[in-house]
Each structure stands twice: as structure tokens, then as C-alpha cells.
Symmetry: C2
Subunit: 433 residues, 2 copies
């Protein structure tokens, strides 16, 4: 069980006829909790789909208000695959609203309590009629348990080969709290998610959706902070193809059903509570597992590749270096060919748009289980032969691990990517609009 | 004829045993001119090969001095393929110097008048002994004419499928002036070349070498300016795989043999002379032809793709947008599959790290010969069907032409790239260190 593992959630999926393949394509995750809260982050791409626009407006209203003025938290997320409802303008907003009204009608809640989320082809109108017709049947299917969870995980897939789900448990003030999640993502993956404080943004990419549920009683602002932190350490750290999407979304809903809070009334966790860190850790770990699953299922990927940069002038510099390496097509091809072509890694870093001294730079390749082998130090190859057993072990590992040290600065960062295969080209040259 | 077409040049190539394939791999272009000048630009990659370090030092000495203090211009360029002499530290500098001494000995000039240039594998020492042994034989082969030119064009190739050469003629003050050139480049291509004013740099990529000869009498500072401008409009406008190299180099040598200058003594062209513009145009046009040839021969490329961005806030913003589109693997796969997947183009631009308003953005695809067809306008698809004859013609063209208008600003830029094929993956997964 994943999304319905925490108390207070039901889920369902069905075939609404959106995917040309005829596979399940419409899903719903419902929060029946008595003390609900919710949090969300979205793509920083300049071009966004209608659901992201609606989601941002919701977040602004929701987090902008406090106490009794705060509107009801999300009651449900309505997700479809097969059509991203992006580049559809005002009509796309209205289409999404129509499906939200149908969902609200089926659940007996306000339309503002429904969050839409869409993935699939860009520039096509949502098949509203198909979706609204399917809604009563979808609502009737809502249930807890493995079947419901599996159905949701399958329905949100696009080019994904495997469904992605995960869960965590954590004890807060003696109460067992659950977190569950589903995600999709295979191509157009390199999420950089925004925060509630952003005034809009840029730099983002990736069609990656993740939906997280928890029965922890947690304050909405606190949940938003926890989600943003978790995403920085998980989804923001992976890239399949460095290409932007307009639909990246991570939503977390809490039912508040577990009385994990403090005081006689078991108030929800606040940021200053020690329990916050326990919850944060579990959420981050959950998101990291999902992000890794997304990369492993990257389009055409046969293996993953982890780059860690240390000794940079700042974390930002380190991240730029790590991204330049992980997204280089030549490095990705070398990983595919199991070739310890460290020259490509070093020169990819040399192109990151930041300064570092090659004479103070070293590169170690490893299989992640042993110390590995240094192949480049102080601007020079160390002369390790390709036949070195440690090097062969490193290049056959999954992930292949590269540690790039560029000096003695305090900045460090890591990224997880995957190899580039002929299969990636096949998938993306044959997928047509 | 190309590099020896201008008066005052000889060239030769031979097999020195550097390439494992046993093909020709050592070449020399010699300037016998009486009023020589030279100019050079190099990669902005943080990591550079020994020849680039030597070249930058030469340029600093050469352009830093004036009049009688200026050292002799380059007498010859010594080029090898099969080993880039990069990541080789001080030993690499000394190796290059040893080959320069051998070349200077064979030509009877000073070692400072020789410019080395290397391409090939990174992190391997130059086979100095093989190169110095070959030098007397190479010098003995020096000649003018097609055979010599063709031999040089072939010897500098690595994964190139075809040799790349070109030439121009231009009349300056009633005198016919010639320009000739050879280039290599197929993978690790996306040059961003520096200028003599740079204090070092970053942001560059591409193993692209180009060597240009001219018999125009032109002042060295003037030639440097002309070369930098020409590169901005040519090599800096192309990308095969967005990956940095450490060896990008463009060198232009003038023999000064044509008395195209002004006054009784036919002084070399200065920047303020109207002739400068004639020379500049010919040089830019020559470099553009070479840059296009490099992209057409990009590793695995089956077709090229031109993106023009207009209406941006600045030229810099426009360039970032154009680069984000041209380098997106998803866009490159769509071009390969002849799929008018405009959603990928628009979302790739959305990730360029610059702001623009999708509602003021439009995208037109064309075959470059006709007006083409607008597929996206004001944030919405125009609804042109995939079966539209203009769209089919555009997607089958070479280059496929995309015009992305992002507003009404003054900034514009264009980039030429190529598709991503399974062959690219094959070449780069199988090429081993």
C-alpha cells in the first residue's frame, strides 16, 4: 500500500479514454481527514500547463491566509495522463475547472478543494466530456488498499515502464505516522521545483508528478516548508534529459488523523517542534526513493550515474558543475558504453559557466561500495589502466559514482542521472504529436 | 584549393603514427609571406589543452606589443590529430615545445613562430618522438595546390566523415585578395570562442579546429578583430552536442603578399579603412560556410536544424533561448523523427533561465524557402494539422527552420544544430579511452 496506507485516504483509477492506448488514465486521491492540510510545489518553467496555473493560484490563496481565514485544505487530487492541458490558454483553465466541478460534485465538496494535475501531450484540449462522464464511476471506485493504490500508480504512467510508489513510517510523540506516495516520470525529467515564496520563476524542467499522503497532524505552513526542503534533496537532484516540462508537480496532503501533536488537544506539528525533524526526514527519504525510481525508469536508461562535487566555492557553483556533467550527452554515452572516459567528465565541468582550477581538481570513479579509484589529480591523469579491476567495477556499477573535487571550498552538491541509449532516441523520435 | 590558394602559403600532411588507424595525422601550414600577420581565438573552457595554453601566451606577447616591438608573426601551424595533449600538465607544454622546435628546425625559423594545435584523446602524452621523426619528411612535402590542401584537410579529421575546406575572393582597392580555410569537427561541438581581451573565461565547448589563410595585407590588431567578429557570427552559432572541449582553436594567418593597402607603400589594412569591411565580410562568410559544414558532419547527424529567436529583451536573452532549444535532446529527437513537436521547442525555451511571456510568443516552422507555417501563437496552438503540406515540407527540410518570436524586444539570435540519432549514441558509447 502506498497513497492509501496513511489513515484517512481513499483512491481510485479508471479508463476515461484519454490515452490512445485505452489504458487507465484518470485517477483520484481523496483526503477524508478531519484536520486536513496540504502543500504543493510546481515547475519553474516559464511555460506552464493550466493545472499548474490553477495549483499556483490555490497555493497563493491557501498559504496566504491564516487561522480561521484559511480556506479548506484540498479534498482531492484529480489526475489524468494522456493530455497535459498545456499551451491551451484560458480554454484550458476552463476545461480543468469543468473536470474539477465534476469531481467536487461526485465528492460533495467545493470546487476549490479539488486540485487538477495532468501529464501527456502538449497543446491539445482536455477531453472534458470523457472525464466528466467517468467521474461518478471513478468516485464509486474509491477505496483503501493495494488494489486502489496500484490502480492509481498505473493510471498516471506515460512512457514509464514501471509504476512508482513508496511509503514510510515514523513515530511522532509515541504515535505511528504514515506517509505514502505515487509518482510518474520517465522523459522530460530534470525537475527544479518552485517554492511558495517564488514570484514565478525559470530554470525548471521535467514532466514529473508525485502525490504524497500522510496522516500526520501538521500545520499547513509547516507542511509546505517540509515539502520544499524534501524536493530540494530529491527531485531537484535528478535529471534524465535536462529538458523542461510545463507540468512538474508535487503535492502532499495530510489527513491529520493521527494525534501526534502536543498538548491536550494534540495540536498539529509546528516548525519549532522537535517532531518536525522526524517528519521532515521521513518525507525527504520518501521523495529521494521516488526520485531515484524516476531516474532508473528514465527513457531508454540502462544504468544510473551519480556525480558528487566537493570543494567548490559555494553550493550553487557545485550544483552547476554537477548538472553540467550529468547532462552532457558525451558523458551519458560514455556511461552507456561503460567507458571510464574521465576527459569528458572534466571538460563537461569545464563548461559549467563557473570558474575552478583544473590544477586543484581531482576525479574519483567508484562503484559506490568501495573507495574507488582516482583517475585525475591536479590537472593530470593518474595513469590507472582501463583494465584496473576497481575501474571496471566502477563502470559496471549502478549507479556509476563520480566524485569531482574542484578545490578546498565549502560548496558541495550531487546529482543523479542516467545513460543515453539508442532506445532514448527511438522513443523520442517515434513519439509523435 | 583552400589553404594554399592565397599567395604565400604551402602545406603538407603525413602519417606520423599518432592515430591508431594509421591514417594521416600530422599536418603543417606554412606562411612564406613577406608581411605576415596572425590572429587566433581559443576555447573558453576552464580546462584547456597544452596547445591552447601555448597559443594564448603567444597571442598575449604578439598583440600586446606594437610596431617594431611586435615579434615576428606565425611562420607555421603544426597540427596533429589522434591526441589532444590535454590534461597533460607541464609535461604536455614541454612535449608541444619539443615538436615546435623540430618544426622550427625544419623550416629554419624561431620556435616562437610555430603554433601547435592538437585534437584527439584527452589525458595522453603526445608521441613526441614519432612527431619529431616525421618532421623533416613533412617539411620536404610542403607545396601549394590541391593535393597539399586535401592532405591537410584529411589529416586533421577525427570522427569527421568528410574533409572541410572552403575559400573566398574579395577585391580590395582593385586587388584580388584570397582567403582559404580548412576545419575539423564532428563531436564535442558547440564552440564559444574567446577574444584577445578575455582574461580567461568559461562557457565554451567543442573540439573544433579551423585554420584560415589569406594574402591580404592586414594589420595584426585588425585581423584579430575581424577574426573575433567572424567567429561570433559563425562557429559560436553552431552546436552539435553542447559539450565542451578543451581544444577549440581558430587561427588566421596573413601573408600580406597582395598590395591591397593604401598609400604608395600599400600599407596593410587598418580598422578605419573602408576595405576592412570587405575583408570582414569575406572572412565571416568563409567561417559561416565552415561552421555549417561542421554541423552537417556532426556525429550521427542526418539533418540540421536552425532556430531563430526574435523579439527578446536583448541579444543575450535571445541567444540563451536559441541555445536551450537547439541543445534539447527531446527537440533533437523530434527533428530526427521529422515530428513537428512544437511543445518541446516552446518548453525547451521555457527552461532557458530567462523570462518571457508565453502569451506573447509565437513559433513558425518552415523549410527555409517559403514563409512556413505558424504552429503556436499567443500561448496557443494554431491548430495546423500534422498533415499540412507546409509542415511536412518544413520537417523534411535541411535545415528545418524554426522562428521563435518571444515579444517585441530588440534582441535576436540564431543557432544551427543537428538532430540526435542512434548513430550518435553508437559512436560515443563505443569510442573508448
Amino acid at each position: 500500500m502506498c497513497v492509501t496506507r496513511p489513515t484517512g485516504f481513499r483512491a481510485a483509477a479508471c479508463k476515461a479514454g484519454i490515452k490512445p492506448s485505452g489504458r487507465p488514465d484518470l485517477a483520484m486521491i481523496v483526503n477524508d481527514g478531519s484536520r486536513r492540510s496540504a502543500a504543493a510545489v510546481f515547475t519553474r518553467n516559464v511555460v506552464v500547463g493550466a493545472p499548474v496555473e490553477i495549483g499556483r493560484r490555490w497555493r497563493e490563496r491557501y498559504l496566504g491566509a491564516r487561522g480561521v481565514d484559511r480556506p479548506e485544505a484540498l479534498r482531492a487530487i484529480l489526475i489524468n495522463a494522456g493530455c497535459s492541458n498545456a499551451a491551451t490558454g484560458q480554454a484550458g483553465i476552463e476545461d480543468a475547472m469543468a473536470t474539477m466541478r465534476a469531481a467536487a460534485g461526485a465528492l460533495g465538496c467545493a470546487v476549490e478543494e479539488i486540485m487538477p494535475s495532468s501529464t501527456g501531450i502538449i497543446g491539445h484540449r482536455l477531453p472534458v466530456e470523457k472525464m466528466t462522464s467517468a467521474m461518478p464511476g471513478l468516485a464509486a471506485l474509491l477505496a483503501r488498499g493495494h488494489d486502489a493504490d496500484d490502480a492509481v500508480a498505473a493510471a498516471i504512467m506515460t512512457t514509464d515502464l514501471v509504476p512508482k510508489a513508496s511509503h514510510r513510517e515514523v513515530e511522532l510523540r509515541g504515535h505511528q505516522v504514515h506517509l505514502g506516495a505515487v509518482a510518474k516520470g520517465s522523459g522530460m525529467i530534470a525537475p527544479r521545483l518552485d517554492s511558495a515564496g517564488d514570484v514565478g520563476g525559470f530554470g525548471a524542467h521535467g514532466t514529473m508528478l508525485a502525490f504524497i499522503t500522510t496522516d500526520a497532524a501538521i500545520d499547513a505552513d509547516c507542511l509546505q516548508i517540509a515539502l520544499e526542503r524534501a524536493c530540494r534533496e530529491s527531485f531537484d537532484r535528478v535529471s534524465v534529459d535536462a529538458h523542461p516540462s510545463c507540468s512538474d508537480t508535487v503535492i502532499c496532503m495530510s489527513s491529520g488523523m493521527v494525534a501526534n501533536g502536543k498538548g491536550a488537544s494534540a495540536e498539529p506539528i509546528h516548525r519549532s517542534d522537535p517532531e518536525f525533524f522526524g517528519f521532515q526526514s521521513a518525507l525527504t527519504s520518501l521523495c529521494q526513493e521516488l526520485a531515484t525510481k524516476v531516474v532508473k525508469d528514465g527513457e531508454g536508461a540502462t544504468r544510473t550515474f551519480r556525480v558528487e562535487v566537493r570543494g567548490a566555492a559555494s553550493h550553487d557553483v557545485a550544483e552547476r558543475l554537477a548538472r553540467a556533467v550529468i547532462d552532457s550527452p558525451l558523458v551519458k554515452c560514455a556511461i552507456h558504453g561503460k567507458d571510464p572516459n574521465w576527459g569528458r567528465i572534466v571538460t563537461a565541468a569545464g563548461n559549467a559557466g563557473v570558474r575552478f582550477d583544473p590544477m586543484s581538481t581531482s576525479l574519483t570513479l567508484s562503484d559506490g561500495h568501495s573507495a574507488g579509484v582516482e583517475v585525475y589529480r591536479s590537472g593530470l591523469p593518474t595513469g590507472v589502466p582501463k583494465t584496473d579491476a576497481r575501474l571496471i567495477s566502477a563502470m559496471n556499477a549502478d549507479p556509476v559514482c563520480a566524485l569531482l573535487t574542484v578545490g578546498e571550498g565549502p560548496g558541495h552538491a550531487h546529482m543523479l542521472g542516467c545513460d543515453l541509449s539508442a532506445e532514448y532516441v527511438k522513443i523520442n523520435a517515434e513519439y509523435t504529436t
